[in-house]
Every structure is written in C-alpha cells, then in structure tokens.
C-alpha cells in the first residue's frame, strides 16, 4: 500500500506544470517534425515530396507575409531578367540538407541552393538569405536586389544612399535591417521585406551586422560610440542597453532563437543580456580575437574567437563553458537551423577555407571538431568571413 509520502509524490509530480514557453514548444515541434521527415533508406521519393511541400509552404508563407505588409509582392513588380551568370557547378558549396548557404569574404560572395549556385565569388558588399531560402538579398554598389533563390529571377531592386555593408532578414520575413556607408558614417536602416518603406533607424552606427529578435519586432545594433541599442520596429524607439561586463566596442551580437537574450561580444569578452529585463547579465572572457556568435539552442551558443571555439550553456545561475582549440584561426561561424552542425571559416597562413562540422556536444571527454564537408577550398582572404546557413 502506498505511503502518504508516495501519494504526495504521485500528486505533485503529476500536477507539476509544464513551464516551457510556447516558443520552446514550437521550436521543439518543428525540430522533431523535421527529424521525422529526414531521409532514410528506401524513402527517396517520399523525401522529395516532403522537400517539395516544405518549399511550397515557405513560398506560400512568404507570399502571404509580403502581401500582408500592404505592399505589392515581388511577383507583381518583378523585372524578369536572364538567369544569373552561369557559375561553375560546385556541389561542395552547399552543406548536406541545407536550403541555402552563403559566404561573404573580402567583398566576394558565394550563394548556393539545392537547385543552383546563385553566386560564385561575385563582387558583393552584403548578402542575406531570407528565412526559408526564398529570396537572396544582395548588395552591389549602391543597389540592393532581391533575387528569387529558386529561379535566379530579380524580384525587386532598390537604390540605397550609400554602399550597403550588411543586411539581415528578420526571422519572420517581413523586415530587413541593413547598414550603409556614406561620408565616413555607417547608418542603420529598417525596411519592409518588399524593399519598401525604408526608415533610417540611426545615422551613426558601428560596422557590425545587426541581429533581429525571434519575433521580428526588434533589432539590436551597435552604435558608433560602442553602446548596444535595441530598435523596436513597432514603436520606432531605440533603447540603449547600459554597459556591463567590461565590453568595449562590440564587434558581434546575436539574439537567442526564442527569447530576448542577446549575446554581445568584443575582442575579449562575452556578455549575455536579457533585453526583456528578466534575468541578470552573464559575463565571460574568451581568447583575444574577432568574435563570431552562433546560437544552437534556446540556452546554448557557440562563440569563436582566435583559434578557440567555445560552447556556452546558460545555467540558472551561471554559465557553463566548454572549449575546443583548433590549429587555425576561426574567422567566421554559423550554425545549421537545427543547431547540430556548424560552418566555420578557418584561416591559417593567409588562406581561408570554409568547412561544415558536427557541433561539438557537451561531454565528459574533450571532443575534437569532426569536419564533415569542405564547403569552400582554401583561398586568400584577409578579413572576417560572414556565413549564413538556411
């Protein structure tokens, strides 16, 4: 016969509330369904159907979204041109299972989808692939162009006040944030996903790619004075985040996938701040070097700096860290949408190559980086490499 304690345990454990956020639930659901749809032996035709359905859904979603902005969708205003320049097939450019992958290094861009290589070393100053890999936004001179990823068709062109140096789609593809350089100043703009309704957010910002919050309603950026600010798209307000953790002149920032947590890094420090004000700041030091940030889970992220790849796990309280040291400097980092794989730009001896690798897990043993695929062979690259994986 169960004791009083056992009866209480049964009741308490069964009545325990599920405190997961709806975002965590939705993200887990999407990841699980994607995993269920992954190819298995003998399921090739089914997999193709699933891919087609997913692409169709992404197209429909984006079409609805664009229409919902009140502007005409791209298809109405499109200037159909010849397909993009024939690029040499380079199947290695696309990580296995990716919808799109882009590399921007030293003013040259590579963009690949399962259907085609859209750019192969073409001169571009900024590249942004839309969520679902429906459109590729490319900056060339003072022009922004939205190109349909599936066909290479130019959907919309926009002239900008200066050279676009960075561009980022919001997670729900209704907005684009981009930086321009003119007269020695970087400016941050926010506009609709239709390349219309352009709004100057801040005329003096640092040359650091902004980052959208998961709900697409706010974008974080670095001001020219090194302070980090969050621009709320609905109200137009810019809120400066008070400095902390000893960071000076951040060069990378990234919102977490399902919350207001914002990771900010400079050459030696990392700060994770809850922009909704609910949790205390977390600070950490890292090897000196230009940092790159990639979130892989709601509470886990990678930071690359120098030749070290750090994996951080946000605890309550505190921060766990796990480091993998590589023989090369890491000059670019991004994660696959499911967080299981990473793409890294590795630089040594003046040349850089881009590889896909398994995201090293937290484990009791030190885990070496397991490289899965060479995405871009070694080539001379001087500066940081911007990578994007859809």
């Amino acid at each position: 016969m169960p004791s009083e304690l056992e009866r209480r345990l049964e009741r308490v454990l069964n009545d325990m509330p599920v405190e997961a956020s709806s975002e965590a639930h939705d993200r887990a659901r999407a990841a699980a369904l994607a995993a269920a749809a992954a190819p298995a032996p003998g399921r090739g035709s089914l997999w193709r159907i699933v891919i087609a359905a997913a692409v169709a859904m992404a197209l429909v979603t984006t079409g609805v979204t664009l229409a919902a902005t009140g502007a005409r969708p791209f298809s109405d205003t499109a200037t159909v041109t010849k397909p993009p320049q024939a690029a040499p097939p380079h199947t290695g450019l696309l990580p296995r299972g990716a919808r799109a992958f882009s590399i921007l290094a030293d003013g040259r861009a590579w963009v690949a989808t399962p259907h085609r290589v859209l750019l192969h070393g073409a001169p571009r100053s900024a590249i942004a692939v839309s969520p679902g890999a429906v459109y590729v936004l490319e900056a060339h001179g003072r022009t922004l162009r939205a190109v349909a990823a599936g066909t290479g068709r130019v959907a919309k062109t926009q002239h900008t006040a200066g050279l676009a140096t960075a561009a980022v789609w919001s997670p729900f593809p209704i907005r684009i944030a981009y930086l321009t350089e003119a007269g020695g100043h970087q400016q941050l703009h926010d506009e609709w996903g239709t390349l219309s309704h352009d709004y100057l957010v801040d005329p003096h910002v640092a040359a650091v790619a902004p980052s959208w919050r998961w709900d697409s309603l706010a974008v974080a950026y670095v001001r020219a004075d090194g302070r980090v600010a969050v621009h709320t798209a609905t109200s137009g307000h810019n809120t400066v985040i008070p400095p902390n953790c000893g960071l000076r002149h951040p060069t990378a920032l990234a919102f977490a996938p399902t919350s207001g947590l914002l990771a900010i890094a400079d050459r030696t420090r990392l700060r994770i701040v809850d922009t909704t004000g609910g949790a205390p700041d977390v600070c950490a030091a890292h090897s000196p070097g230009a940092p790159s940030i990639a979130w892989v889970r709601p509470h886990q992220l990678f930071v690359a700096a120098g030749a070290t790849l750090y994996r951080y796990l946000l605890l309550q309280p505190g921060l766990g860290t796990d480091a993998t040291t590589l023989p090369s400097r890491i000059t670019g980092l991004t994660a696959s949408p499911d967080g299981r794989r990473l793409a890294l730009a590795l630089t040594s001896g003046g040349s850089t190559r881009v590889v896909a690798a398994t995201a090293p897990p937290f484990s009791e043993q030190a885990t070496p980086l397991h490289v899965l695929q060479l995405l871009l062979p070694a080539r001379p690259v001087a500066g940081p490499v911007a990578l994007s994986w859809q």
């Binding site: 599920v18 659901r29 699980a32 309280p317």
Partner: protein
C-alpha cells in the same frame, strides 16, 4: 472515434505523415518535459533536453520496434540526455554572474515546492527512478527494463530515495518549529 495507438502513429510518421508525427509529439511533449525538468532539476535545461530527445527519437523512428510501447523508449532518451548534461557539468567552468536568478518553481504551492525541491536534491540515480515511478507511473519491473537494471536495484534506489525525502521532510519540520 478511436485514437490511433502510438505504434500506429510511429508507423505513419515513419512513412512520411507529418500529421502523425505532430500528434505523436503533442501526445508526449508534456510528460517528456516534466521528466526532463525533474531529472535535470532545471527549467532552462528542460527545453533543450526535450528538443534534443524528440529530434533523436523522431530521426530514429525507422529503428523503433512498433510492437513495443513508444513512451518508455522516448523517456529513456530524455533521461540519457538529461544525465549527459548533468555529467558534463562536472567539467563546466562556472564564470562570473552578475546576480542570481529568482526561484525555480512557479505556480506551485509552498509544500509542493518543498517536495519538488527535495526531489531535486536526490542523487541523479535516485531522482530518475523516483520520477519514473511516481511521476510517470512505471512499475519497478518496467523501470528496470527501461534502464537495463535488475529490479532489485530499482527497488533499492526507490527505497533510499523515499528515505532521503522523509529525512528532508523531518529537517523542514524541525526548521519550522
């Protein structure tokens, strides 16, 4: 209308039915989250553990024996992921934190919270069998099969866990008086 069994849903999900996969996910999400939450002792970790567990389970549906129940298989994956993370903490380096966050359990009465906190202080081995037995209703024999342990070991861990919890209750009562 008769609800499809887990085995039927697994079969349909493996053949490509997104609806079946979604139904299977919703059916087991809450239990898996509670298990992850209780075994890990952390709400923030539970989100990651459950997502990871579902990804692994759904990616391996083809290897799942549909004649066996799905929940124990999923729960075993959840437990393994939770214990992996807990074990890994031994070599995690604590870094500077500006302040401590607020209390862990929300929307729970004080007595219940005390009991949940006491469960969280059990050793991972005892915590796992406690949650499986009293939270998910598995018998000691089922737990033994799931964890690949002798039934006697499971019973022993359960008994010691109850002893530990009674001791915590006594300490708490003493503090009150």
């Amino acid at each position: 209308m008769v609800e499809p069994s887990d085995g039927e849903l697994v079969g349909r999900a493996h053949r490509g039915s997104r609806d079946a996969a979604a139904m299977l996910f919703e059916r087991h999400w809450g239990g898996a989250w509670r298990l992850a939450r209780t075994v890990s002792g952390r709400r923030d970790m539970a989100d990651d553990i459950v997502q990871d567990a579902f990804e692994r389970a759904f990616a391996a549906l083809g290897r799942f024996d549909q004649s066996r129940p799905f929940a124990p298989w999923l729960h075993r994956i959840v437990i393994n992921r939770a214990l992996d993370l807990l074990r890994s903490e031994r070599r995690l380096v604590g870094l500077d934190v500006a302040a401590h966050p607020s209390a862990e359990w929300r929307d729970v009465s004080a007595d219940d919270r005390a009991l949940l906190e006491a469960v969280a202080t059990l050793t991972p081995q005892r915590r796992v069998v406690t949650v499986l037995r009293y939270g998910l209703g598995y018998s000691p024999a089922e737990i033994a099969r799931m964890l690949e342990l002798p039934t006697g070991t499971v019973n022993s861990r359960l008994a010691r866990a109850l002893d530990d919890l009674r001791e915590r209750e006594r300490e708490r009562d003493a503090e009150r008086t």
